[in-house]
Structures are given as C-alpha cells and as structure tokens.
C-alpha cells in the first residue's frame, strides 16, 4: 500500500469502524443522568422490571421491545418509556393484507 493510499485510508471516516462520536455522546448523556440524580447504574434495569410487572397486570405487552431511557436536554431531564402492546386482532389484520 502506497503512502498516499495509507493516508487516504487513515483520514477517511470509518477508519476505526463506525464513527465513534455518537457512542460517546449517548454513553455520556446516560452516565451524567445517573451522576446528577445520584442514582446507581442498575436503577434503569430495576425500573424496567417493575414497570413491566405493573403494566403486565392490566395489558398484554411486548416485553422484548420495551425501551426505557433517560434523555437530557438543556431544558430538562426526561424518562422516556416506549412500551409496545400486543394487539393481536390488529396484527392479524395487517398480516392478512
């Protein structure tokens, strides 16, 4: 490999795999939410389990697809939960199309 090729490769996005900046930002935001709230790192897993327990009593939920995250913006810290429900009849309809 020539010097120039090496250089081109070295300077290209993707040289170290996918761009790492996004990972840095996401991990930092989560770590800082814990730091600021004085929470333990396991809090989110515990929260997730308990939310599932409560909701599952009343609704059929798709446990695999539950997403619970903290989000930090300049204005506020948010807990965002996305909890897909199992809606059998509607799924059946879309599949039959």
């Amino acid at each position: 490999m020539g010097l120039l090729d090496k250089l081109v490769k070295h300077l290209s996005p993707g040289h170290y795999g996918p761009q790492s900046k996004a990972a840095a930002k996401e991990r930092l935001k989560l770590a800082l939410t814990y730091d600021r709230g004085g929470m333990a790192q396991g809090t989110i897993e515990q929260l997730r389990d308990e939310i599932i327990q409560v909701i599952a009593k009343h609704l059929a939920i798709n446990e695999e697809e539950i997403e619970i995250n903290f989000d930090r913006t300049v204005e506020e810290d948010k807990l965002i939960a996305s909890i897909p429900l199992r809606m059998a009849p509607r799924t059946a309809r879309t599949k039959s199309k």
Binding site: L7, S12, Q19, S20
Partner: protein
C-alpha cells in the same frame, strides 16, 4: 483597584489547567493588564516550571498562609513581561496547609493589587479544589473532548453551582479538527449540549505547547502557535472584546488535501 479573581479547574487531571493558567495570565499581561498566576496545587506544584520561573522561588503560598512572609515577598515578577507575576505553591507540604478562609483573604489582597488573579487548581474535588474556588469571582472549567474529562467537568459544574458561583465558563482544550471531521471526536456543539454552560474558548491540539513548556516559555507569547493564538483570544474575551471563536482549523497539509480530493470531499 478591584481586580477579577478567576479560578481554573476541571475535576480531571491532565486536561491542561496549568498550561491554561500560565498562558492566559501571560496573554493578559501582554495586553497590558497586571496579572498574577497562583498555584494552589500544594505538594505538586507545576505552574512555576511551566512558566519558566522554577529557579526564582524563595517563599510560597504556605509561607504566606502561615505568616512566615508577607504576600508581596512570595510573588515573583516575570522578567520577560513586567506585568506578569506568579505565586508558587509549596512543594513539601500538603493541601491541609491551606484553608478556604486563608485563600479568601489572599484573594482579597490580590484583588486590590492585580487586574487579574488566575488561580490554578489541583485535580480532584477535595480540599484543594475547595481552597482554589473559595475566593473566585469567576470560574473557568477546562475540559478536553474525551468522555472522562467531560463527565468530570459536569460533576464540577454541579459543585460550583452548589457553591453559588454565578459566572462559570467552559474552555475546550486539545481539539483535533481532523478527528472531529471524521466523526471520531465529540464536536463543540455536542459538548455544549451536554454541559450547557457558556463557552469561553476552544484550543486546538498544538505541539507548540510541549515545545514551549520544555523551554519554560509561553505559547501565548509565540505568534507561530495556534494554541497560543487561542489563549490570546480567550484573554481578549475576558477583557470584554467580542472575538469570534477560531474556526476549527482546516488541515493545511498537501497530503491531507489530496486525501480529501481522492475521497471526493
């Protein structure tokens, strides 16, 4: 005279607090302001060697605190720039030799004599940090684009807010334009989004910093240094001038340009 006392801190070590303190003090002095850089890292003093004043120390901060000499006697005047001064830390003592009350008293005296008192704090958030911020009117947080430094900066911001410090600014040190361009280094908007404090300046990675500190010289007095230029801009911003942030430096090398040409960017 009612000068300003500005503490430079970071939480994490090795991000460039001492280099910042030395260079911004020198830049302010060059702009005609009477400036003193104060080393509060008792036991691990370094401001003296970075500024090239290590051979001129007779008395230090702890001597002043413990009443062995007057403040005036411990302050070293730089021979290169008559307006630049330095107050060294003690090397053979530990942080408990100074207290926040003692620092406040010293800051009151310095405020009366100097336009700018720049206090270099030790790494960490323990006693040494508390001493360093005790007398501060303003605080500069130095960080780098690394996750560890940013996390520590966030922690320090929380502590400064708890200590009711109103004026807190951020300086992003050692930014590498090429890595930012590739998406492999957090960019300025990313860092500001996370830390949400006012940006005072951006300092590019610059080998001049190593070379000048090797020699006991100051990059901010060297027109060839890009970091030195950034320090000078920061000094001017502190004086209230509206200096635009340096554009993240474009690569100048022929090979880098060629590489981009090949990539069609």
């Amino acid at each position: 005279m009612a000068g300003r006392v500005i503490t430079v801190t970071s939480g994490k070590g090795g991000v460039g607090k001492t280099t910042f303190s030395a260079n911004v003090s020198a830049a302010l002095a060059e702009l005609g302001k009477k400036a003193v850089a104060v080393d509060t890292d008792v036991g691990l003093r370094n401001l003296d060697i970075v500024m090239g004043l290590e051979n001129r120390i007779v008395y230090d901060l702890v001597d002043v605190v413990e009443g062995r000499c007057r403040l005036q006697k411990a302050i070293i005047r730089d021979k290169r720039l008559g307006t630049l001064h330095m107050l060294p830390a003690a090397q053979t003592r530990d942080k408990s030799a100074v207290s926040p009350d003692a620092m406040e008293k010293i800051c009151t005296e310095l405020r009366a004599q100097f336009d700018f008192t720049i206090i270099d704090s030790p790494a960490g958030i323990e006693g040494g940090f508390q001493n360093a911020i005790a007398g501060a009117d303003e605080v500069v947080i130095v960080t780098t684009p690394h996750v560890s430094a940013i996390r520590d900066a966030d922690r320090v911001i929380g502590l400064l807010e708890a200590a009711e410090k109103q004026r807190i600014y951020l300086v992003i040190n050692r930014l590498q334009a090429e890595m930012v361009r590739r998406g492999d280094m957090l960019d300025i908007p990313d860092i500001l989004d996370i830390l949400a404090i006012e940006l005072l300046g951006i300092i590019p990675e610059d080998e001049f910093i190593v070379v000048t500190s090797n020699r006991g010289e100051l990059a901010s007095l060297n027109p060839a240094s890009s970091a030195g230029h950034a320090y000078k801009n920061i000094a001017r911003r502190l004086l209230g001038e509206d200096v635009p942030l340096l554009p993240v430096e474009e690569d100048k090398g022929l090979f880098k340009r060629l590489a981009r040409l090949f990539k069609g960017q």
